[in-house]
């Protein structure tokens, strides 16, 4: 009987562990499918022109999405500057300082904010930043994206701060550090890997969002000066080109999708590299 039970447990072990491997494989293959599809369809449109030229009308060769690439970078920069600090500090509050009921309310509200459709956030940012001054702007787009970045950042910051073992905090305090010093020099660095993951995930998500930008950043066929003018972005270009009747524009849309992913990849790599270097100290 014991032998039978052992056999069952061992088989279950093997089966379940293999299944997890299969699951991971399935997910990764979906990614490669998407990348392959984008490459297959958009690869031919990738050229030096794509990265340096402004968009051209249909039928003319040599057009590119230089302004959209820069635009997406600018918008992500704004979103990061506006949204990440809010998410980080709110997460610190929830993990370290929060009172029971207030924290509950804030957590609940954050989850609610996360569930709002991106177009509704766009409409909100529109009434907040665009209507009062009667023009579209990169700033408005940044606000919309910044709001979307907050919930994911809060959740992951709180979660990973909590995961830091209590004895590390106690050790710091035993050495006479104040609460905030402990957080800043001990707890945050310990949780930094997870927090960074959350931040990068949040930025990756908003990098591909179209709907919130339609009424805020609007879009631009030309270069955008400063932060107060309409600005082009990769997702909006993809959206415009993908639903057009022309094959040339379709291919450019796929190429833009590829570039967008590459952008996110590079930023991810860059951020993690910096973190790894700083941790090696």
């Amino acid at each position: 009987m014991i032998a039978l039970r052992m056999f069952w447990r061992k088989s279950l072990n093997f089966v379940m562990l293999t299944l997890t491997g299969v699951a991971a494989l399935a997910v990764v293959s979906v990614l490669f499918l998407i990348l392959g599809y984008l490459l297959w369809n958009g690869g031919t449109s990738l050229s030096w022109n794509f990265f340096t030229q402004l968009p051209k009308p249909v039928g003319e060769t040599g057009g590119g999405m230089a302004n959209a690439i820069v635009g997406s970078l600018k918008l992500l920069f704004l979103a990061a500057v506006m949204g990440l600090p809010v998410g980080l500090l709110a997460g610190v509050y929830l993990a370290e300082f929060g009172g029971k009921t207030f924290s509950f309310v804030v957590r609940y509200t954050t989850d609610l904010l996360n569930g709002v459709p991106s177009i509704v956030i766009g409409i909100f940012a529109y009434s907040l930043v665009v209507l009062p001054v009667k023009h579209f702007s990169a700033l408005a787009g940044g606000v919309a994206l910044g709001i979307m970045v907050i919930p994911i950042t809060v959740r992951s910051t709180e979660e990973f701060l909590r995961a830091v073992p209590g004895n590390m905090r106690e050790a710091a305090m035993a050495l006479g550090a104040s609460r905030w010093k402990t957080i800043a020099t001990v707890v945050l660095p310990a949780a930094s890997g997870g927090i960074l993951t959350g931040m990068l995930l949040a930025l990756a998500r908003v990098a591909g969002e179209t709907a919130p930008l339609l009424f805020t950043a609007f879009g631009n066929r030309f270069w955008s000066q400063g932060w107060g003018q309409p600005i082009a972005s990769l997702p909006v270009m993809i959206y415009t080109y993908a639903v057009a009747p022309y094959d040339d524009w379709h291919r450019q849309a796929w190429a833009a999708g590829l570039v967008l992913l590459a952008l996110v990849l590079v930023s991810n790599l860059g951020a993690r590299f910096i973190l790894a270097r700083s941790k090696a100290v």
């Binding site: 550090a177 997702p235 993809i238 796929w254 991810n268």
Partner: protein, 332 residues
């Protein structure tokens, strides 16, 4: 660690009296407390402003339809008769399907990446999976149309109808004409879109589980799987639930990808293979072209309804967590 310790040690200089020192310490903490509190409160402020905007701009339709908005099944821009029922149904169904598919897949992958895979490979794969989150939903939609929809229409749909369609009770979910677009297709596309969130966060959380826990389980004779499933995963429970919340929120609010594969029929049907529509997709589809005031107001009221649904679903999920908390886990 030692660098941190020495820097802290330097923070204890002799001052003019112990009370002054304590006061300064407390002030630093107080400021930190206040600053972080302000940012937490900012989130509340933003969300309240959002709800306020939604409330004010949906005034026309709220007064015109009242509570009937929730169960009216008609959505008619020409005769100004709007009801949210089909979209509420569609939203809940597609999100449920998405989670049913994504949570096991995501959790299993996260377990693999944190427990079994060598650290290097795990990092690289996890990194690649994060990329999935950055794919614009328009592209997910197009891929859905070109790959998932034909698959559903030619292979998967008929398969489900012939096998599960005959099982009593759940068979009603897999009946009827199969066009390829529908609730199930939308659920599948959504599942792919939300799985990166589950995997990414769950993997990180599983990695934080102290080694002693695993070792203790193994020392007691557990197999690898048993120690993972019965000890490690419960320890990381709140983090995993958190990732599921993220996934749920994304599924509820997703617009572009869903709208391309759901068939857009404002109808309530039992079969998962039937076409339907969700709240987010309806708003995204019709907002840019809507010109009537009541029409616009109704679209915004839909946004408010979605907010309410998110509110309720989140509440239910939290009750679920509290109810299962007694099953052991990381001490709060």
């Amino acid at each position: 660690m030692s660098a941190a310790a020495t820097s802290i040690a330097h923070e204890v200089p002799p001052q003019a009296g112990p009370r002054a020192f304590l006061h300064r310490l407390r002030q630093g903490d107080q400021i930190a407390h206040l600053v972080t509190l302000t940012f937490a409160a900012l989130i509340l402020l933003l969300t309240s402003m959002l709800v306020y905007e939604l409330w004010m701009n949906s005034h026309l339709s709220r007064t015109a339809f009242g509570w009937n908005f929730f169960w009216t099944k008609v959505w008619d821009p020409n005769f100004d008769n709007f009801g949210a029922a089909p979209f509420i149904y569609g939203t809940i169904i597609t999100s449920t399907v998405a989670l049913v598919l994504a949570v096991p897949l995501g959790l299993a992958s996260a377990i693999f990446l944190s427990e079994l895979a060598p650290r290097n490979i795990s990092d690289v794969i996890s990194f690649l999976i994060d990329l999935l989150a950055a794919v614009p939903s328009v592209i997910y939609g197009l891929l859905g149309i070109f790959i998932v929809v034909p698959l559903m229409r030619t292979t998967l749909g008929p398969l489900l109808i012939n096998t599960l369609g005959n099982v009593p009770y759940i068979g009603v979910l897999f009946r009827g004409p199969n066009y390829g677009v529908g609730f199930l297709t939308a659920g599948i596309v959504l599942a792919i879109m939300v799985v990166p969130f589950i995997i990414s966060v769950s993997r990180e959380v599983l990695l934080t589980v102290p080694r002693e826990q695993r070792e203790a389980a193994m020392a007691l004779g557990a197999t690898r799987w048993e120690s993972t499933w019965k000890v490690v995963v419960p320890w990381a429970r709140t983090g995993i639930m958190g990732s599921v919340f993220l996934a749920l929120a994304r599924a509820l609010g997703e617009t572009m990808a869903v709208t391309m594969v759901i068939g857009n029929a404002a109808a309530i049907k039992a079969s998962l293979l039937a076409p339907g529509d969700t709240i987010a997709s309806t708003i995204a589809n019709q907002f840019t072209e809507a010109t009537g005031d009541l029409y616009l107001s109704s679209l915004i009221e839909l946004g408010l309804v979605l907010f309410l649904i998110t509110f309720i679903l989140n509440g239910l999920a939290r009750i679920l967590i509290v109810a299962t908390e007694r099953g052991g886990g990381r001490p709060a």
